[in-house]
């Protein structure tokens, strides 16, 4: 069974939490006591209907204000697939949460209020999803019940969206954009179909999620950041030296030639252990322990790749970063974490800053604050082996950590 991770985005009242509540409720993923619990709160608030958004808004402050202030995770399972939802808030000041939610997602659902059509937030969310290389985009045109299920309205929004996508991405063929008209409140076209949408021939949201093809996310170049060296200090097991990790991209077989970066040392895969079993190969996202033919110097943080597929080593990196902390940029060294390694870096220059309303990169003014997206040049203390984010996702990203506060202060992708 595979796992589909997706995130939801939309403006404050577009009904994200209601949509998720619906997906869970109509797919029977909610237990009776959870329904009873939200029924109680729903009644107390004087709602006429069961407020399904209460299923995702977990914190007290959220339930009081009726908004979502943090990423919330929800789960459901179908016959075919296991789903993980990162429910992201719609407020503009929470751009960082959307970056967080999309960083590990395969797909994004963008909600649009059928009455309002495409608004600034829609553009922004689509822009961020594209930047984060989310190649499956599902646009749910919600509140169709409030526009009399008007097909023309739906078609118009679809047309407007495609124009916007074209403007933002050019002819980026990697991305697939699908449109589904829904009413989250009434549960129409979420899990169950509805006669009101007899003009719509596409799948429901649930059907779409269950059947969408995920093979696109598997990249080919083998990338294995060494996490941990397993060397038992035991009298029974001698000479065992295994390099434990998880495959971030591609796959590897016993007998393959490998190169270790940054040292450039070479060897051959002798054995692949997965717990007490020996495997012939290790695939994308699988964990395992690799043993090599030669005794080469290798430790946590080193990157193992197939010989002939080495990424370049960089001391100067052009990247797009998003500032995710309240403390603004200071001209000092930061810790850069990539793969399983870390090094120091400095932001040598801030080249451009994204103007979030017009979505243009403009001349930067030397400052970076919370939620800012900037193109920067970084200088690192050591040369590091990185790929372009759009080529090898998990080896083309990094985070910056402030040494004084220990907080993660920026996310970055390699251009």
């Amino acid at each position: 069974m595979d796992v589909l991770k997706f995130t939801t985005a939309g403006s404050v009242d577009d009904g994200k939490s209601t949509l998720i509540g619906r997906l869970l409720f109509d797919s029977n993923s909610i237990s009776k006591d959870q329904i009873d619990a939200i029924q109680k709160v729903s009644d107390r608030k004087g709602n006429d209907y069961l407020d399904l958004s209460l299923l995702t808004d977990g914190l007290l402050a959220e339930r009081e204000q009726g908004i979502t202030i943090d990423v919330s995770y929800k789960y459901f399972t179908s016959e075919k697939r296991r789903f993980i939802i990162a429910d992201c808030p719609g407020h503009v000041e929470y751009t960082r949460n959307m970056i967080t939610g999309t960083s590990d997602s395969d797909l994004i659902i963008i909600l649009i209020d059928a009455r309002a059509g495409i608004i600034e937030q829609t553009k922004r969310h689509f822009y961020i999803a594209s930047m984060m290389e989310i190649n499956e985009v599902v646009v749910c045109v919600n509140k169709m019940d409030l526009v009399d299920y008007d097909e023309n309205k739906f078609n118009q929004i679809q047309e407007d969206f495609m124009k916007m996508a074209q403007r933002i991405n050019g002819n980026d063929s990697k991305q697939t954009i699908s449109f589904i008209p829904i009413s989250a409140l009434k549960g129409e076209n979420i899990v169950k179909t509805s006669d009101n949408f007899n003009w719509f021939k596409g799948p429901t949201v649930f059907d779409f999620l269950e059947n969408v093809n995920l093979s696109k996310r598997i990249e080919n170049k083998f990338r294995f950041p060494v996490q941990y060296v397993i060397r038992p200090q035991s009298e029974v097991i001698t000479d065992y030296r295994g390099f434990a990790g998880r495959v971030m991209s591609g796959s590897i077989n016993v007998g393959d030639e490998i190169t270790v970066l940054p040292s450039q040392k070479k060897s051959k895969v002798k054995q692949i252990d997965v717990f007490d079993q020996q495997n012939n190969s290790l695939d994308y996202k699988e964990y395992g322990t690799i043993l090599l033919e030669d005794e080469i110097d290798l430790s946590r943080g080193d990157l193992m790749v197939k010989t002939g597929e080495e990424p370049q080593l960089f001391k100067e990196i052009n990247a797009t970063i998003c500032w995710v902390n309240e403390a603004p940029f200071q001209n000092k060294k930061y810790i850069l974490k990539y793969g399983t390694m870390q090094t120091y870096c400095k932001i040598a220059s801030i080249n451009k800053k994204l103007e979030i309303h017009e979505l243009n990169f403009e001349q930067a003014d030397g400052t970076i604050a919370l939620n800012d997206i900037c193109k920067v040049t970084l200088k690192t203390a050591f040369p590091i082996p990185l790929d372009r984010y759009d080529e090898v996702k998990y080896n083309g990203c990094f985070i910056l950590v402030d040494e004084q506060t220990n907080m993660t202060i920026a996310s970055g992708i390699i251009n």
């Binding site: 007290l60 789960y75 998880r246």
Partner: protein, 294 residues
């Protein structure tokens, strides 16, 4: 069917803990989630031993079956177990025994836990909590930083991007780590089945002395303050194992793992619905987490 990716993610997290921290502990409760963690840790570092201290906070009100099971498992894995007792915290006047018919030591565990962490100077504590259990937990990070007082600040959490886990902390702080955050109750059971993991017998159908309180079946033991309820024999099992005073039983004939999984798939009540400690108020878990509870 168990989704393989979840195991791989959990093992990645456990290895990050071993690599990023000096003195990590795995918090063992004797329940199926922490038993699952033990299995994952065994797989993550094989053929090495599990590189964590295993800490059990013993309320003194555990099921005897749990304690017997714990000791056997630790011996089998050659694990380094330490036990901290809630009774000691009570004797030192750090915790006050609750009174009345609902008296439970569940909340008192937090005191013993925080003292244990401080005394042992653990910088990371791995727990088996899952986001599907409860609404406040759905918001918590995989690496969840706690301050000097063990408190959780929900509004000031570190964003977790891609696979990166930032375990940098100040002296005195510690990180709670939740490797099976993304698992559901059913995933845990499917994994137990797939891996043929042994679990305490009380998870399967058995005969037990019970009583009914507030419409819920509870196990009778001398830790419970009875309020004139009638005690009777019933065929039950437990979906979750906590303190005996606040863990409800379900009537069940499910004596095998397959039957248990069938039953969970059909169940209308969620797992934590069987824990009265969560039903004390709408934000019961959030409040306890802020105070340092797991």
């Amino acid at each position: 069917m168990f989704p393989k990716e979840l195991e791989s993610e959990a093992i990645f997290i456990l290895r990050e803990v071993a690599a990023q921290f000096d003195n990590p502990a795995l918090l063992f409760s004797g329940g199926k989630d922490s038993i699952t963690l033990m299995r994952l840790a065994q797989k993550a570092f094989y053929p090495n031993k599990i590189p964590f201290t295993i800490m059990h906070v013993d309320t003194g009100h555990n099921f005897p079956e749990t304690i017997e099971f714990r000791d056997r498992l630790m011996k089998e894995l050659n694990a380094n177990l330490i036990v901290k007792y809630v009774q000691d915290s009570i004797d030192q006047n750090k915790a006050v025994e609750e009174t009345g018919k609902y008296a439970s030591r569940n909340a008192l565990q937090t005191v013993t836990l925080l003292d244990g962490i401080e005394e042992m100077k653990f910088d990371a504590c791995i727990g088996g909590a899952r986001r599907d259990e409860e609404k406040a937990r759905a918001k918590e990070r995989i690496f969840s930083v706690r301050d000097d007082f063990g408190q959780w600040d929900a509004k000031n959490q570190r964003p977790e991007l891609w696979h990166f886990l930032n375990g940098k902390i100040n002296h005195g702080e510690n990180v709670r780590v939740f490797p099976i955050s993304n698992w559901t109750e059913l995933d845990v059971w499917s994994y137990i089945k797939q891996e043929e993991i042994e679990i305490p017998s009380v998870y399967y159908s058995h005969q037990r002395q019970c009583f009914i309180r507030d419409g819920v079946i509870f196990p009778y033991s001398n830790h419970v303050n009875m309020d004139g309820e009638e005690i009777f024999e019933e065929t039950v099992r437990f979906r979750t194992i906590g303190d005996m005073t606040c863990t409800a039983a379900v009537k069940s004939e499910a004596a095998t793992i397959d039957k248990v999984i069938e039953e969970i798939k059909a169940a209308e009540i969620s797992e934590r619905g069987a824990r009265i400690d969560d039903q004390r108020s709408e934000a019961a878990m959030e409040d306890r987490k802020k105070a340092g509870y797991f």
